[in-house]
Symmetry: C2
Subunit: 461 residues, 2 copies
């Protein structure tokens, strides 16, 4: 790195260190917005979060555009003030999961509170903390004479609903949005002090199964024994999709599952400690395919989980009805090279086979993304490793993750950049759960790392 | 029948015929009270319905007592003005089922409306219509010089929640509440114009299964493959309790099932027309044990139906959680001589066997009653047959019913009267379903029949 570049970097780092309170204030402000993409009633809040991001980026001097998506907006920002320098794209999402069950939160989910060095609020860890780290890093670089690389920000509001809007924008404007590197900031550390850079992500196939029996809910005394029960039938269907051993029993489901290479496995950390993972989960035992290790089950094996069931009488007390209709929402996590469309067809066929007499079933796809594998033998990962080592004291672990970042595959397909799939949250931050939180040290360390990444990429150019 | 008795009967029948508008007005008034016993928020309404009944009976000159029950009150009324004459007890219930799904009602469930000769409101058919018929019949007999028999009214407010309060009162005060005959008015006609007198009822065993896996709902991407999913596990449990063929797969479940005698079967009507029943149910086909006829499945075979499932994310949109907890409410309809306590233990053991790795399960009983068989070779049934023939043009069919009237067994045990288990609703009145209704002709015919029954019993004494 040239001395000029190093001086500018240090000035940016100093600026960030001097403005930590402002970074936290920004994160608190953004976390107050209940930008729940799954609930139509919160569409205005998702838009408000988009506007908050857009204003912040405009204030830095970036060119910002809010693009209407299918459901929620996409925010695109660019600063191309370093002709000839590489272009770094940063991806985050400003939408959050619903906060239920709300009664299990210690403090209200959209009333951010700092306790023990952690900010508690829905979405702080997934993914507003990392989003604010990116804005804060850019601000520090603009304050220190301008970023050393060209910058693009890609923020979406449909991540938690597996939306397609950002992916569509990337495909439509691939040329105009070209990046040399894309940093996906939606992941979490391997463990405290040690980040992770992901070499692969699972995809997802979400769907809904609807079972219809009688015309209306019937009295179970008068019709029990002859009238089809939509909930009993749904139970048969769901239990026929995955065995108690965790093995999915949809014909052909595993046909295209790719076994990870020995070279990739050699990069992996030691397998997870079963008892530690069990305690983290909080159950009496773990479940799943016993013939595979825990990391294999979490990273390289597909899954099938039911997320919710609606049907019949669910209020207080009892009501002896035969439910006429029942609906289950479920999803499968996919691995390379499973094809979501082919699997949706296979699941649909299997559900039809499993339906008990007298019911009609429909299966509806609710969103999907393919699994992705990323190359890590490039300058982007090298610069990120250097930046993580300097900011957090250790380079990142190279690993896969079981969750899905649908746009990661879209970035690869549309822009073909060098990918750095990482993030700043910590395991145990309660992604999608009550009392979600984000450590202030991760916020400030994340800013530091992103500043170092940008200068590191400039130095390598 | 003596001429004096016949004249008094005719005067009572004339009085009833002249006061039909008042009977309808009474039923409308009672049906406006949302006396939903299953919902705690409606406890005051259940009590209001009890008080409405008590005031009506007091106005006739009967001695009335409102007895506090475990959940809701019991109303007891008596008139013992005919020493030496037999005592007739009438049973009805003033509580109703919850009205959900409310959006499927044509008019609001507690805003009674007459359309096409039917009164539409929650509870009119089950069981407020028959209850008002009893009060109206008594009123007519008091107006015609006083009832020819001693009268007792037994009204409860816990029928729809399988409550035990009336049963307890009957046992505690068996001597004071003695009856020669008890008319249970909670049933329905065999078909339009032809009543039914029930020779047997199924019992019921209600329970709740709770499955607990992780400590909180978890992200299905990050934990899918290792964390137990309470809803997937619940689906395995429920599908393992009853096969797609309708056969219950709890070991020992059928051990005590009594096969009906050839003599009883000879009384039965011809088997139900399958296609007609299928249309009534509104499904593409019927389900159940194919080796048994439809009447056998409805009357003499036990069942298992899931009524509702709670767990996971059930709002609009998607949320990819692994639910930590799931609950199913279900019940089994029982037949002679199944023992609810023994079966609850067998179900609990089976549920424990079916639980998948990593979950904990609990099974809780929510109420029960044994199935009952009633003798029909007595003066009460003979008088009822005569009354039905005169009031509706045909005697009643002798048959069983698949539903449960838990207090019927309690009356038998505590008072050992001659039982007449019948009622005035029609098939298709939508018991427990949206658009429940009761024909005005059944209300007025019911009054006529009950007046005739009382004089018929007096004539036979």
């Amino acid at each position: 790195m040239t001395e000029t570049l190093a001086l500018a970097r240090d000035e940016a780092l100093r600026h960030a260190a001097d403005h930590r309170d402002e970074a936290l204030a920004d994160l608190v402000e953004l976390s107050r917005i209940p930008s729940i993409s799954a609930l139509g009633a919160h569409a205005g809040d998702v838009r408000a979060a988009a506007q908050w991001c857009a204003e912040k980026l405009r204030a830095l001097g970036m060119t910002v555009e809010i693009v209407d998506g299918r459901v929620h907006p996409v925010v695109l920002a660019e600063w191309m003030g370093r002709p000839g320098a590489p272009t770094l794209g940063l991806y985050n999402h400003f939408d959050v999961q619903p906060p239920d069950p709300v009664d299990l939160w210690t403090t209200p989910p959209f009333d951010p509170v700092v306790r023990d060095g952690q900010l508690f609020a829905r979405g702080v860890a997934d993914d507003k903390g990392a989003l604010v780290a990116g804005i804060t890093a850019a601000e520090a670089m603009f304050a220190a004479g301008g970023p050393p690389v060209n910058l693009r920000f890609f923020y979406e509001g449909e991540e938690e609903i597996t939306g397609v809007s950002l992916g569509e924008v990337l495909c439509e404007r691939a040329e105009a949005l070209a990046c040399d590197y894309v940093f996906i900031g939606d992941g979490e550390f391997d463990r405290p002090g040690v980040a992770s850079i992901l070499t692969g992500l699972r995809g997802v196939l979400q769907c809904q199964i609807e079972v219809t029996g009688a015309a209306v809910d019937l009295h179970s005394g008068l019709y029990g024994g002859v009238a089809p029960n939509a909930l009993n039938s749904l139970a048969h269907i769901l239990s026929g999709l995955k065995g108690p051993d965790g093995h999915i029993t949809v014909p052909g489901f595993y046909d295209d599952v790719q076994v990870p290479s020995p070279a990739e496995r050699a990069q992996w950390p030691a397998d997870v400690d079963e008892d530690a993972l069990r305690r983290e989960v909080g159950s009496v035992a773990l479940e799943g395919e016993a013939e595979f290790g825990l990391l294999e089950r979490l990273w390289t094996r597909p899954t099938l989980d039911v997320h919710g069931i609606v049907g019949g009488f669910t209020d207080e007390g009892t009501k002896t009805v035969i439910p006429a209709r029942a609906v289950a929402k479920l999803s499968m996590r996919l691995v390379p090279d499973q094809d979501p469309d082919r699997l949706l067809a296979a699941v649909t066929e299997r559900v039809r086979e499993l339906a008990t007499p007298g019911v009609e079933v429909t299966v509806t796809g609710l969103g999907q993304s393919r699994a992705a594998l990323f190359g890590v033998e490039h300058e982007g990962v090298a610069a990120a490793q250097e930046a993580f080592a300097a900011a957090f004291g250790a380079p990142a672990t190279l690993k896969r993750m079981g969750a899905s970042v649908p746009v990661a595959a879209d970035f690869q397909t549309a822009l073909n950049p060098k990918m750095i799939v990482s993030g700043f949250s910590l395991p145990g931050d309660n992604f999608h759960s009550p009392d979600e939180h984000f450590a202030l040290g991760q916020l400030h360390g994340g800013v530091d790392m992103l500043v170092r990444l940008a200068y590191g990429l400039a130095a390598r150019a």
